[in-house]
């Protein structure tokens, strides 16, 4: 299967050893050679000294899912030697630091020993350098083994180390060291190697959190509050970094406010306060934070305050696997808070959508006057993806929703034929008009509260009024279903009765899996959900198929539940197709899981 421009390399190192930047340079070089790479960082929940892996799949077909079966493993961590060796495919290669030589108990793997530590010890005196450059040495060896373009490597190194020119030279020396050693001692290149290609032309390589942060800048977000938590921290860091470049006045003053809150309850509270006061506000967190925010999310739902929450999902339940990926916060996000509460969810599938859907999230939050939750995950958020370049239409006008300024307040009755009421449905779309503090000296003030209120925002304990108000809020969800991003539907067989439903970061694996199935004669339709609540297109797709495999990365088939209860799809035709071991999916997994279900069906049909 593997070959030129099509293989998987895995680096087994120790965290805190500086391997991350070397590994990134490796991936970036291949990307710049025009290849689709899909690096996955598998890191522990600690800071230094524990096993870490970096897995890079290379594809000239544009596939960017993980792929099982390691062709070449760079084993730098004796702690994991045995497990690492076991992962290499028969016929594969293993590079290791042979300064401490050892016997590798597999005959079907070609071991490529390089005395990296010794080489570095000879070359550099400073212990820190000795340590750091070890990583560049193996990159250099790979350059020879895989025949990477040295010009490209050099540019990558100097781009990465911009401003630290002295370091560039030293890094390149280390690369040469490795490359020369490999050239001298091994038959280079290996059968798996790279050639310039144009599959990744026009694409960019970026992680979803940075994309989302940039998206929030473009969306016009100004108030951000957060509390650090893996894997969401870098989303806010991305926002800050881009805002610092793009949103600072000449006098150095910022056109944005970031508050590092004392916890998640405060973070969402700040965001809600900002939304109430008319700023585009957001916070980012992961599962534990969503749990802590749930009381406040109910307030924003009932008091109808726009706010955007990025949930970068990780492995649950509880603190769970904080450095692994899952899609297991769906139910807790959709129904966050007690009482009858439902939230709008957006389901980005890659960094490009993290960027573009950010704009949609803020627009929807203000249009619908309600929290909107972006359901990203660790795989999208923290791994680098080869993805479509970001695009922006300068003609686009941000949708700030129904906000009345002083003039609109004065004219309201004339224009609409009714007195203004904060919670009055004037337009029949269940969305009322809001006013911001400070707008008008005598009109439009009201009291926002989480207790029951009537259409004029007045406190009430009248049950009929309460029911009427929450009925309207529920109806707003119907409006939401018409406004949220539509699903991505891929019809490969118009008469097909089996469909795949999926969403989020499993997209590459599912698309590749579908191609594989296609090649094997199974033409399957698929629908990628992009939002909750579900629009008509979702219902139609479900109605048009007899069997729907719902692929999701959680144990409890949470999206399947939502489809049953919120899109009236019969559970009998929704097949839970689940993975929850914390790893990004592979096409192989998808293929196997799908075949398991459709093969008996096919057989039954044949009988």
């Amino acid at each position: 299967m593997s070959g030129i421009n099509d293989f998987v390399v895995k680096f087994a190192t120790v965290n805190g050893s500086g391997s991350a930047s070397a590994n990134t340079m490796f991936a970036k070089t291949l990307f710049r050679m025009g290849l689709t790479v899909s690096p996955k960082n598998i890191f522990p929940s600690n800071i230094q000294g524990l096993p870490t892996w970096y897995e890079v799949r290379v594809s000239d077909k544009g596939y960017n899912a993980r792929r099982a079966g390691i062709d070449l493993l760079v084993a730098m961590n004796p702690q994991t030697y045995l497990d690492d060796l076991a992962e290499v495919v028969p016929g594969g290669w293993l590079v290791y630091d042979s300064s401490m030589p050892r016997v590798w108990p597999r005959a079907d793997v070609t071991v490529l020993p390089i005395p990296i530590a010794q080489m570095c010890a000879r070359k550099w005196a400073d212990p820190r350098q000795r340590q750091l450059f070890k990583n560049m040495v193996y990159v250099g060896a790979l350059a020879a083994l895989l025949e990477m373009d040295m010009e490209v490597i050099k540019r990558v190194v100097s781009d990465q180390l911009k401003g630290k020119e002295k370091l560039v030279a030293a890094n390149l020396e280390a690369i040469d060291l490795g490359r020369n050693y490999a050239t001298e001692h091994f038959v280079c290149p290996l059968p798996i190697k790279v050639r310039h290609h144009d599959g990744a032309k026009g694409k960019i390589i970026v992680n979803g959190n940075e994309a989302a942060g940039l998206g929030a800048v473009y969306a016009g977000a100004t108030v951000c509050a957060w509390y650090p938590i893996t894997p969401s921290t870098s989303m806010v860091e991305g926002f800050e970094a881009h805002a610092k470049r793009l949103r600072v006045d000449k006098d150095g003053k910022k056109n944005f406010a970031i508050v590092q809150a004392e916890d998640e309850l405060a973070a969402i509270g700040v965001a809600i306060g900002g939304g109430w006061n008319g700023a585009r506000s957001f916070t980012a967190t992961s599962g534990p934070g969503v749990s802590l925010m749930s009381e406040f999310l109910g307030l924003a739902y009932f008091a109808e305050i726009p706010v955007v929450l990025y949930d970068i999902q990780r492995g649950g339940p509880s603190t769970g696997m904080p450095t692994r990926t899952q899609q297991s916060d769906l139910l807790s996000a959709a129904y966050a808070s007690h009482g009858d509460t439902k939230h709008v969810l957006l389901l980005p599938s890659d960094p490009t959508e993290c960027f573009s859907m950010s704009r949609e999230a803020f627009d929807l939050a203000e249009r619908l006057q309600t929290p909107v939750i972006m359901m990203s995950d660790l795989d999208i958020g923290m791994n680098d993806w080869v993805t479509d370049a970001f695009a922006w239409d300068d003609a686009y006008v941000h949708d700030r929703g129904k906000v009345l300024d002083a003039a609109a307040l004065d004219a309201f009755k004339d224009v609409k034929g009714k007195e203004w009421g904060r919670y009055l449905d004037v337009d029949g779309d269940a969305i009322p008009y809001r006013t911001l503090p400070g707008t008008h000296p005598s009109k439009g003030s009201f009291f926002t509260r989480g207790t029951s209120h009537d259409e004029y925002a007045r406190y009430t304990e009248n049950g009929d009024i309460h029911a009427r108000v929450i009925d309207r809020i529920r109806a707003k969800f119907d409006t939401a279903a018409t406004l949220v991003p539509k699903p991505e539907i891929d019809i490969r067989d118009k008469a097909g009765k089996v469909g795949i439903i999926y969403f989020g970061s499993t997209r590459p694996a599912v698309m590749e899996g579908q191609d594989e199935l296609n090649a094997a004669g199974y033409k399957l339709n698929s629908m990628r959900l992009r939002a909750f609540p579900f629009g008509q297109e979702v219902r139609d797709f479900c109605a048009a198929h007899q069997t729907l495999l719902v692929i999701e990365q959680n144990r409890d088939a949470q999206m399947r539940s939502l489809l049953m209860t919120e899109a009236d799809v019969p559970g009998t035709k929704l097949i839970a197709t689940l993975n929850y071991d914390g790893s990004p999916l592979t096409a192989e997994w998808v293929r196997t899981a799908v075949l398991k279900h459709i093969t008996p069906a096919k057989q039954a049909a044949a009988e």
Partner: protein, 355 residues
Amino acid sequence: MSYIAKPIAHHPALPKNELGLTRREYEGSMSTLCAGCGHDSITAAIIEACYELSIPAHRIAKLSGIGCSSKAPTYFLGKSHGFNSVHGRMPSVTTGANMANQDLVYIGVSGDGDTASIGLGQFAHAVRRRLNMTYIVMNNGCYGLTKGQFSATNDKASPSKKGEANPFDPIDLCQMAIQLGAGFVGRSFSGDKKQLIPLIKAAIGYKGFAFLDVISPCVTFNNHSASTKSFDYVRAHNQVMGPLDFVAEQSEITADYAEGTSHTVTLHDGGRLMLHKLGSGPDGGHDPRDPDAAIAAIRSNAKKGEIATGLLYVNEEQIDLHDAIGTTKRALNEVPCAELCPGSKALDGINARFR
């Protein structure tokens, strides 16, 4: 029941402030608190302070948590936007509101339960960030709205209405606020309008975190004779520290003070605070510019069962969260998206960086 609107009878002869508004125009809807509740007196003092300061009501935002005290914003400033958020979380909501628009005046109202129990963390961190707001705790030593359980500010000696002794030491919010870096810290009593109104006015004019702990007896659950949060107890044990005059922006300072016994602090809104030293006793000798002395005075009074009131501490350096994080002077909620969005051209450069 529904919201009770108060009839606004405009009497032509009512006195007016500089904006030409009467006190009535600073009122809210009818109070639904118990007759005699201290909170209503604080409400009245807030109305009076805002009226006297001639602040346009719609430029004030009033926020609260949950509790009898947190209901109070409904009863003042009907022309202001209000936000009755969730229990203990007013500080964070106010932080966000302030980040979005620094041009409004923020008055936060909370209870001792709302602040010292469920909201202690948010309170402490809003103080630490020097959020520019006036934070008023209506402190009755109990949870009024849930029927009188002890709160964390109730004194150890002070029993419940049924006579059960409170086994825990109180949290002194003023002491904590000073320690955490609040710029302006005062304590007062709902029954002492004369002290309370100038304190509120000064707090509103102060830039930074201005904290007022106002003892406000709960007539229904914590006003019995043995309670240290009762009207009678507070009246008898009130030790005024640093008496103060508040002089509005334009006004002349007319009173005549002996050299060296008074000091003027100019507030951010142009108003001035006249601090008087009356003598060297525990009451008059207090210099509210010294945080150590303020903490010591609070502690030594508490030890004697006395309550130090008045302006306990003021930091003349008036800075706030916006200063700390370096935001623009504009209200962020007024910067149009078109200006905030860098556009497609910038994006080309950004895409290039990701190649």
